[in-house]
């Protein structure tokens, strides 16, 4: 079975993290974002994943080569020379997706984090026998998104309404599709939108069905949603594989800690924290609702909350970091510094406090 992951472009909303690596390689819960998706695909029998990229494919491929071997799945890139929208990349990768066997293929949006109930999706798809299945997810504020209006009894999609002014439904496109190869015939090789141009045509033929995504869903393309996504993810991990979470009196709520990380005495960590490979958390540190990426050293008595600390940063003693501070790669925060929402580009030294949210270049 094949799959396409829409990786797209520059990931500017996740800067400064994406100034160091392409967005799919930004770690989420101690694993590159795209690996969560590739592993979920592998688990349902996908043997080849195509990444639709238009930025830094060499960096991606170098990284993924290692995973090809360890996961036993083939990974290739389909490079867009101009942005192809959300459907164009499918036409570009056509030969790889349609191997003549008539088997349907997955299309995933790389910014999405969810439980990936792909097995259930395959069953639902076979059962309705239609051309395409999309996952939808229930949200509180549907008018921020594109709403999918469907027949609740069988999931048959009636129409799409972009940012509706009045309530028409509360299910939005979750960015996970299962398409039969004949959908490829509908897509021209040009920048095309799958929601605006392709799906409405399939819906008109009553051949598009929606499945409500069980479990959590988050678009983690920007730092604030990234943190919310971590909370949802760890929540789900607590239910499915609680042994993966850290346990002990040092930890509060859901916390995931890489086995190579070291944590000193007298720390209080959690809730909703991820600590990456090779991190050193010295004594007396308080961490809550934050992501600590690979190779970070947090010195004694520091306190970090509601923030993202990028790879190889150093946080000084008694530093206080809060309110959606995002530190790029290799940022060094001096002792006793306060950062209230600083967004700091890579390789900076922060020697004076950041009292209100600002970007430090």
């Amino acid at each position: 079975m094949k799959a396409l992951i829409l990786v797209g472009g520059f990931g500017t909303r996740l800067r400064p993290l994406t100034l160091s690596v392409p967005k799919p390689l930004v770690d989420f819960a101690n694993k590159p974002m795209i690996l969560h998706q590739i592993e979920a695909l592998k688990a349902v029998g996908v043997d080849e994943v195509v990444l639709a990229i238009n930025y830094q494919p060499e960096v991606m491929m170098n990284f993924l080569r290692d995973f090809e071997k360890s996961l036993g799945i083939k990974i290739t890139c389909s490079q867009e020379t101009e942005p192809m929208g959300t459907a164009g990349p499918l036409a570009l990768a056509r030969e790889k997706l349609d191997d003549g066997s008539g088997e349907s293929f997955f299309v995933l949006n790389s910014d999405v984090i969810s439980e990936y109930p792909l097995r259930q999706m395959i069953d639902f798809h076979k059962k309705h026998g239609g051309e395409a299945t999309i996952m939808v997810t229930k949200v509180d504020e549907p008018s921020k998104y594109g709403v999918v209006v469907m027949d609740e009894s069988n999931g048959c999609v009636q129409r799409f309404v972009e940012k509706p002014q009045q309530f028409v439904g509360n299910k939005i496109n979750a960015g996970i599709y299962l398409l039969s190869p004949r959908t490829l015939d509908r897509i021209e090789l040009r920048p095309t939108s799958i929601e605006k141009e392709v799906f409405p045509k399939i819906a008109a033929e009553k051949s598009l069905f929606a499945m409500v995504l069980p479990g959590f869903w988050m678009d983690i393309g920007q730092p604030r949603d990234y943190n919310t996504g971590l909370r949802l993810y760890l929540d789900s991990l607590r239910k499915k594989s609680p042994e993966k979470l850290a346990a002990g009196h040092t930890f509060l709520g859901n916390v995931i800690v890489d086995e190579t990380a070291k944590i000193g005495d007298g720390c209080l960590i959690g809730p909703d924290v991820s600590i990456g490979q090779g991190c050193v958390i010295e004594a007396g540190v308080r961490l809550s609702r934050c992501t600590i990426m690979r190779g970070v050293r947090v010195k004694k008595h520091a306190c970090i909350t509601g923030s993202i600390i990028g790879w190889h940063c150093t946080i000084g003693q008694w530093a206080r970091i809060e309110n959606m501070t995002v530190l790029g790669e290799d940022v060094r925060v001096s002792d006793e510094i306060f950062s209230n929402g600083g967004v700091v580009l890579p390789h900076k030294e922060i020697k004076t406090s950041i009292l209100k949210p600002e970007i430090v270049m």
Binding site: F10, T12, S334, K348, E349, M361
Partner: protein
């Protein structure tokens, strides 16, 4: 007063000069972002030529110049194209020497001593790449060869406020000897500053060696008092034995010992630390072309070629519509396209930029491959030193039709479809 009454010394066959340009490297100079994301700062164009090109051209005026060395810790590949083109064009060997790690300005010289002394030079010109000035090297070299010290510094008199940002020095008004030197002093020392242009004799290496030796000794023997530890906490690199700075570690101790002399200039002088300053310095070099190489500047009257006001540089491959009006102080790089009715003032337009009809650019830098839509307006306030004093568009930024961008810094690959002011856009 410049020593204009002294003619350059007759060149004796045993005099040889090498020039060394200190370039720095990528982890320093985050102040040059976002322009430094794509390009090593020394290659950023000022008045149509890379920043480092201007001091190199100045060195080329020295008749007995044997080689030009560029010392830095950027990757070699960042400069290989530029250097091979340059060696051909200038007919003088140019080499890039890469430091494995920063050694400080003097440490870098010492690190490559054997290479620099290869041609057995009598004089070594040392320049900082990010200095923008007229580089009066011929006159300075003549003055240097007259005294018996080991080095000559280019100095300039400035206002008190400006002086405190640099190295301040006191010179003997009769002999020009350097009597006292203080780097960025907190209290007033002098209104003469060190311009970052030096000429040394090979004895400088002995002086640097002595300092390195002392540092090795003291770093292993001395226990720091707690005050010292506090003071050097953020300067820990300077405590390393092989990190030797020219200003604090060499000039300060040697001042007043009849070893160092000064040479004064009254010409323009600036340091190019930020993109705002690069815009200012581009204008200074354009004004210098007006005096030394006016054929490089554009001319036009709005009939077959665009209307040109003041100093404007247009790369020969750029296309500018005749109804556009450019200047003063505009520099347009390769393959840029400026559409009908566009107005450009005080700006640097980098390679492959497209500016559509009736757009306006003032006091800004427009990055490589960016595009401005019709009636777009990209504007800065013109305060070169303020954090958001000019507008900088990084690589591949698209400003849509009729959008206004004022005093912003926009990182690469962004599209602006609504007007915006006083912001950094990541």
């Amino acid at each position: 007063m410049e020593n204009t009454k002294d003619m350059p010394e007759a060149i004796s066959s045993h005099k040889k000069t090498v020039a060394v340009i200190m370039m720095g490297g990528p982890t320093k100079g985050t102040r040059f972002r976002p322009l430094s994301f794509n390009l090593a700062k020394p290659l950023f164009p000022l008045a149509g030529q890379p920043m480092v090109h201007h001091p190199i051209l100045a060195c080329k005026k020295i008749p007995d110049l044997a080689q030009v060395y560029l010392i830095g810790f950027y990757e070699e590949k960042d400069f290989s194209l530029y250097i091979s083109a340059l060696s051909n064009e200038l007919k003088v060997p140019v080499r890039y020497l890469r430091e494995d790690k920063p050694h400080g300005s003097a440490g870098g010289l010492y690190n490559f001593q054997d290479l620099l002394m290869e041609d057995d030079p009598t004089d070594i010109i040392v320049l900082n790449c990010d200095v923008c000035c007229s580089f009066p090297l011929t006159d300075m070299l003549a003055a240097h060869r007259k005294h018996e010290g080991i080095g000559t510094l280019l100095v300039k008199k400035v206002s008190k406020e400006i002086a405190s940002e640099f190295g301040e020095l006191v010179a003997d008004p009769k002999t020009g000897e350097l009597l006292h030197y203080a780097e960025k002093p907190e209290t007033f020392v002098s209104d003469f500053i060190n311009c970052g242009v030096y000429i040394f004799t090979p004895e400088i290496f002995t002086a640097i060696k002595a300092v390195t030796y002392t540092k090795h000794e003291t770093s292993s023997l001395r226990r720091m008092s707690s005050f010292e530890a506090l003071h050097t906490a953020t300067n820990s690199r300077a405590m390393q034995a092989d990190f030797v700075r020219l200003d604090q570690d060499i000039l300060t101790p040697l001042a007043g010992k009849k070893k160092l002399y000064t040479f004064e200039t009254n010409d323009f002088w600036e340091q190019i630390k930020t993109p705002g300053m690069s815009l200012r310095c581009s204008s200074l070099y354009l004004a210098q072309y007006r005096l030394t190489m006016p054929e490089l500047l554009a001319t036009g009257d709005g009939k077959r070629s665009p209307t040109i006001i003041g100093d404007v540089f247009i790369h020969r491959s750029a296309k500018v519509h005749p109804t556009a009006k450019l200047g003063p102080n505009v520099s347009i790089s390769a393959n840029a396209r400026i559409g009908p009715g566009a107005r450009l003032i005080g700006c640097i337009i980098l390679d492959d930029v497209e500016i559509k009809e009736n757009a306006v650019v003032m006091h800004s830098i427009v990055g490589w491959k960016s595009s401005l839509g019709r009636w777009a307006r990209v504007q800065g306030g013109g305060d070169y030193n303020a954090k958001l004093g000019i507008t900088i568009l990084g690589e591949d930024v698209a400003v849509e039709d009729e959008v206004v961008v004022v005093n912003c810094i926009v990182l690469p690959h962004k599209t602006l479809n609504i007007s915006v002011q006083d912001e950094i856009i990541l």
